[in-house]
Amino acid sequence: MNAANAPTAAPYTTIVGLEVHLQLQTRTKLFCGCSTAFGAPPNTQVCPVCLGLPGSLPVMNRAAFELAMKAALALDCTIASFTKWDRKNYFYPDLPKGYQISQFDLPFSSSGSLEVVDPKGTFAPRTVRIVRVHLEEDAGKSMHDDTAGRADSRIDLNRAGTPLCEIVTEPDLRSPQEARAWLNELKLLLEYLGVSDCNMQEGSLRVDANVNLHIPEASGRIAKTPIVEIKNMNSFRSVERALIYEVARQWEEWQQTRAELGTMPKQTRGWDDPAGVTRAQRHKEESSDYRYFPEPDLVPVTVSPQQLAAVRASMESPPKQLRQSLQSQWNISAYDADVLVNQGRDLVAYFETLAAQVGGGKVASNWMQQDVLRMLKERGGAIADFPVQPAGLADLIARVTAGTFDTSRAREIFAEMVANGRSAADVVGAMEIAAVGEDELRDLCRELLARNPKIVADVQGGKEQAVAGLIGQARKQNANVNPGEFRTMCLEMIRTMGR
């Protein structure tokens, strides 16, 4: 195991802070009426404002601002009663105005936190402080065409002007695993609140990580390695991998160079996922001075206590609260509650309906964990598209509880229900499933024992497990045979035969 995978054993502490860019799930862009839908042909969702044509002016989309407020409130941030916009100036072809409308010294929210708890206990619960959350417009996308040495770039401005929340944390994370888990929790939270779809592949969530090491020296002094910013990570897994790599790299570099924080400018390194390494990026001098100043085309935004209360009231319960309420209301374990909540709000709703209909959280939770989730995983897709509704599953579970058939038989029925979208009753009827009567079972036992003298002898010789060989034969003859009942009856008969 890599040293970074076991921070407690390492001769240093890993210090990680994250910067998350999040596209808000609004219908329209932040400062114009263009659609934000992903995947449209290039430059079809644009207008004079997001193209930055001369004379065009931005107008703030209040819905986007309120959605950003939701995100900030969910992160326990303080919402400023007065906030303003600033211009961040830099030249890039996918930035049509030559500046990005952002927030500099007065972000709309600050000072929040989000806790991450690992129910498996691989790390202690960690509260990560949020420095600030601010709102800005996204840039367009550059697509570089390197074919035939032309090195042409094409620009798609569909994304330009999409509302983007920037969330900056304090360097409170202490391992790559924690960073990944915290990002998962953040994603879950934002998805629950309908703030963002958090799709990293489509670029609606982007993460940069700042990392360095704190190394205690014999003198008691703590040496700090230079902070490195890692970019280009396209999944939470790659965030974790990049951090693991970078921590090891910094430790190695420290041992060779003893270079400390402050002795060199902050370095930016890009994550090369296939190669599994971070690489130094060229230092761009022009990126260091954005010449921020207040955006004169927009008026400051004020938030009244009433507006704040209205946004708060419109918010649904966050995952943390939901986990607790599932545990207390349905009497399930923290681990089970975590698994359910992590699957998203729709799955939790499915579970709660099921639990209410079968009249118990535990049995419902077991079915969810062992069967529904497994099937979902096999099939792919969301719970919303799952062919068996909670009522259908509840009906099946009720039959098991009534003793009509056992759980393993029920699983077969469930598989059939899922595969062909049929009801339990339908499947049971079609498979001629009915409880096998005691007389019928006794006849079957007798017949099979007579046909298998060796098994009888083995059992009589003390090898009770030999009776398992009979169960398969019994089920071949009658699929409805309950294996447990059959086994008990066979053993009972053999005992009587021996007397």
């Binding site: 002016l57 703030m60 761009k284 022009e286 921020y292 004169p296």
Partner: protein, 505 residues
């Protein structure tokens, strides 16, 4: 009477009555433009066909008894900084020489809605940066009163075309005096409304927090008529005011009795041309005779107006003009030149990439020297380490200047004084000295910094026959009083009715 000699108010009335056809009116002004523009260069683009077609439709509607708009048949010249969907909009810059906006500016839409007739786009200082109209990439405008002199700027084309009877009304924009100063130097009336009174949507930005669109005409009454149409809230401009628009033309009658007008003694300090000083003092006398009281007031921070302005405006301009990068529209250098990436001596790879080479060359070729100067000033002042000393400090002084006005308007209703220190200067006289050129804004920039309205109108002539301008400023949304006082002055004087002798008639 020839339509060219009618006021805008009279033209609109005559068209409405059927005494004058919109086509006849448009034709008159178009032929005056065609005859005179060669020597004055007030227009960059004349839309004869569009104007006549538009006028014909208005005539047809009027004859058919259908309703016509409040400015029906009124020819209007529009400064080439306002976007027009049917005409290129160049800002008098090579950068936008062939730029065709896909939309009309809010002001242009309102004019069209009111059935005004857009006759063409007027010359200006490039991107509205300048006070003489000599910074146009398409040649300077000449002052109709003396063709060897500058008309002022940056709305020099708009001022000159009205002075030369090529249009009864023009639209200008004023960032530091660009309506009032050329109006003063060309002997016409120009109103810079309160910041936000007229939507800036479609106005190509120079300095967003200072820019304001306004009417330029022969009289205050004509300005009032046009302002009624172009003022008003625009949901597309967050900084446009939501206040309702008064019927300015109906608020002109009330006498000036009891109106207090402030006079700033500092305005008459060294540097003010004696003939201008005399004209301005006589204007105060006329206003007094009309019933106003004149009181001396202090504006302690006014002297910092020009330096403050020349920090804030270039800072905003450096950002507003960043979009002209050759990547999306506007001028782009030759592709082969960009691909050379010939600035190899620069070292860092990023700086001699074809992309950066394209930016540098396109901007280098597209912008004139004054625009470049202001972009550099602004970029410098906003840079890390300088921001506090320049931009932040300028913003503090701006607040002090605003406070000066608030304090002053506790005691007076209007503030009067000169528009510029001298009458029209010779072309080329100040082009070698940017600082001298910046001082032409001495009396006008403070109103932009404070966001209040100001008006300029002629109050006399020098012995050599050059107009002298008088400026009035009012508290925010004080346009009714500005227009009323100016109109009252014009009922008592005839300076605004004088016409340049040398211009083609």
């Amino acid at each position: 009477m020839q339509p060219a000699e009618l006021s805008a108010v009279d033209i609109v009335a005559a068209v409405r009555q059927g005494d004058l056809s919109a086509v006849q009116c448009a034709e008159t002004f178009l032929s005056r433009i065609e005859a005179g523009n060669g020597s004055i260069n007030a227009f960059l683009n004349v839309d004869r066909e569009g104007a006549v077609a538009c006028a014909a439709k208005i005539d047809a509607r009027r004859r058919a008894g259908q309703p016509i708009g409040p400015l029906a048949g009124l020819p209007v010249a529009v400064k080439d900084v306002l976007c027009t969907a049917n005409l290129p909009t160049t800002c008098a810059s090579k950068m936008l020489e062939h730029f065709q906006p896909p939309y009309d500016a809010d002001t242009v839409s309102r004019l069209r809605q009111a059935d005004a007739i857009i006759v063409g786009k007027t010359n200006m200082d490039e991107f509205a940066m300048g006070g003489s109209n000599e910074n146009s990439a398409f040649g300077p405008v000449r002052n109709p009163w003396d063709l060897s002199r500058a008309p002022g700027g940056s709305s020099g084309g708009s001022a000159a075309c009205v002075a030369a009877d090529m249009a009864p009304v023009a639209i200008g924009s004023d960032t530091g005096g660009s309506i009032r100063q050329p109006a003063g130097l060309c002997g016409i009336t120009g109103l810079k409304p309160t910041y936000g009174r007229v939507s800036r949507r479609g106005l190509i930005a120079f300095a967003s927090s200072l820019d304001q669109i306004g009417p330029m005409a022969r009289s205050a009454a004509d300005c009032a008529l046009v302002l009624e149409t172009i003022a008003g809230h625009d949901p597309g401009d967050s900084t446009s005011l939501v206040a309702s628009v008064p019927r300015y033309t109906e608020l002109l009658e009330q006498p000036l009795t009891g109106v207090r007008i402030g006079r700033v003694p500092d305005h008459f300090a060294e540097g003010l041309d004696p003939e201008v000083a005399k004209g301005v003092e006589e204007a105060f006398a006329v206003l007094k005779a009309a019933g106003a009281t004149v009181l001396d007031i202090r504006m302690p921070h006014a002297k910092y107006g020009v330096p403050t302005y020349y920090l804030i405006a270039p800072c905003e301009a450096s950002s507003n003009l960043a979009r002209y990068d050759g990547a999306h529209y506007g001028r782009r250098c030759e592709e082969t030149a960009a691909r050379k990436g010939s600035r190899a001596s620069n070292g860092a790879i990023a700086y001699d990439s074809p992309l950066v080479e394209m930016y540098c060359r396109s901007r280098g070729e597209g912008f004139g020297p004054e625009v470049k100067r202001r972009i550099m000033l602004g970029t410098y002042a906003l840079s890390a380490g300088y921001y506090d000393a320049y931009y932040a400090k300028a913003m503090k002084v701006r607040r002090l200047i605003r406070q000066d006005y608030l304090d002053a308007f506790e005691h007076v209703d209007l503030i009067g004084g000169p528009v510029s220190a001298t009458p029209a200067f010779k072309l080329g006289e100040k082009t070698g000295d940017p600082l001298a050129m910046y001082l032409v804004d001495l009396y006008t920039v403070a109103a932009n910094l404070a966001g209040i309205g100001g008006i300029s109108f002629p109050c006399g002539f020098t012995k050599s026959g050059l107009p002298i301008g008088f400026q009035l400023q009012a508290p925010a949304l004080g346009e009714p009083l500005l227009l009323r006082a100016s109109d009252r002055f014009q009922r008592l004087t005839d300076w605004h009715l004088r016409r340049p002798k040398k211009s083609v008639r």
